[in-house]
Symmetry: C2
Subunit: 227 residues, 2 copies
DNA sequence: TCAAAAGTGTTGTCGCTACACCCATGT
DNA sequence: ACATGGGTGTAGCGACAACACTTTTGA
């Protein structure tokens, strides 16, 4: 374990979203220390005195999943006076979007029991983690309407139907397939890979990838999106 | 001065918006301690160990303006490692909306030289205050599109034209007067006070007030606004 | 009667929603 | 040939933007 000096009264907590089996899921860990030892909770940690704040959740993500350069957004600050029982700790919430297919349990010194849980079936969470989680989902739903960040949750190559299922899972509503395709076509930040699915027992779907460059130019022109 | 224990590595900073002479303004203070003594900066402060986080900016606002129950929203967290030269301090930014007519320089123990500055004519600011300010304006512009928070910047009784001028100042663009009135009429969260302006050398405008109750019921129905 | 701001309707365009059928592929 | 999901077009409606003149009031 490292012994770098930490900021005593400040922590970070992460809501790590993944998409699997058509469901939006979050990664929880089993707490191995008191308070609330044994409960499933959001992964969190403290901030080193000599690291940028944003580095702390990125580091935690890396320890936990082996992933780098993860999509990370601030949820907000949670600063109620009694939110943490041992001492005064204010926490900054972040949410992360990861490709669940890339994820591997990282068996390092920090290895902990972890679990992907559907966001509709969360267990009771300790401290104010339920509040942090709710806020994460609100923020994600808001962001996903204005920026095409969903691709962070999908494999490199994906089908339109996968993308639609993802949006339906995030927004928790049905979307009309034809309208969804029309909107995507009009906006046009997908690369048609001219490739098909394989080994499916029905008509094979076309594969696409997200085109960052096209997207950037659209943003400059002031586009917004809304599914 | 009070000697309550503070959290050493955490501060708050406030962007205080007001509306005057048709312009959106921010309240700056002259720093009376080093570093950057003498520079105009955002008012900020530290958080007591035994207060809720949100109480810290509310307290600072009260000290500075004499106002309570001010409209306050989180801007975000600013945690770069070298943002504050003396030691490691992470700051939480807030913006406040106040009725500039209610404001009085509070001449207490904390009295400092303060100044309302048009947001288009800000001086150079210390540390990362310029970044905090920019983010505040971005957040305000975003929020004002979805919630009618603008009334927090106006007197209790106001005219449609005042409201429009305010939106023009915030969004920094011209708005068509007829369309603006139509939208307001359709949304309908204004109380027609059946009163007129007095002592104006032209046709007197009707006065309105913001109706919180009507607004709450609209929010429940899932309305959005966009000017 | 003039100056200055208040207040009022209509039309065209664009974007969204709703909706049903044929296609390709593997078993 | 059948089961399964892939992929396509149109019509109606509502929301928004553009636009100019008349009204009221005090000086």
């Amino acid at each position: 374990m490292d012994e770098k000096p930490i900021i005593e009264n400040l922590s970070i907590d992460c809501v790590i979203f993944g998409f699997d089996e058509g469901k939006l899921k979050a990664l929880l860990i089993k707490r191995n220390t008191d308070p609330c030892k044994g409960m499933m909770s959001l992964p969190g940690g403290f901030v080193y005195v000599d690291e940028d704040l944003i580095h702390a959740p990125a580091r935690r993500l890396h320890d936990l999943t082996g992933l780098k350069d993860v999509f990370l957004r601030e949820i907000g600050v949670f600063g109620k006076i009694d939110r943490y029982p041992l001492r005064r700790v204010i926490t900054i919430g972040y949410y992360a979007l990861i490709k669940i297919s890339d994820y591997n349990i990282h068996v390092g010194e920090d290895a902990q029991e972890v679990q992907w849980v559907s966001v509709n079936e969360l267990p009771e969470l300790p401290f104010d983690h339920a509040e942090i989680f709710d806020e994460a989902l609100i923020k994600l739903r808001k962001h996903v309407r204005y920026e095409p960040i969903g691709y962070n949750l999908l494999p490199e190559k994906f089908t339109i139907t996968q993308l639609q299922t993802l949006y339906e899972a995030i927004l928790n509503k049905q979307i009309d397939n034809r309208n969804f395709r029309k909107k995507l076509a009009k906006i046009g930040f997908l690369n048609d890979l001219k490739e098909k699915q394989k080994n499916v027992s029905h008509r094979a779907a076309n594969l696409y990838s997200f085109d960052k460059v096209k997207y950037e130019t659209l943003v400059e022109k002031g586009y917004t999106f809304d599914f």
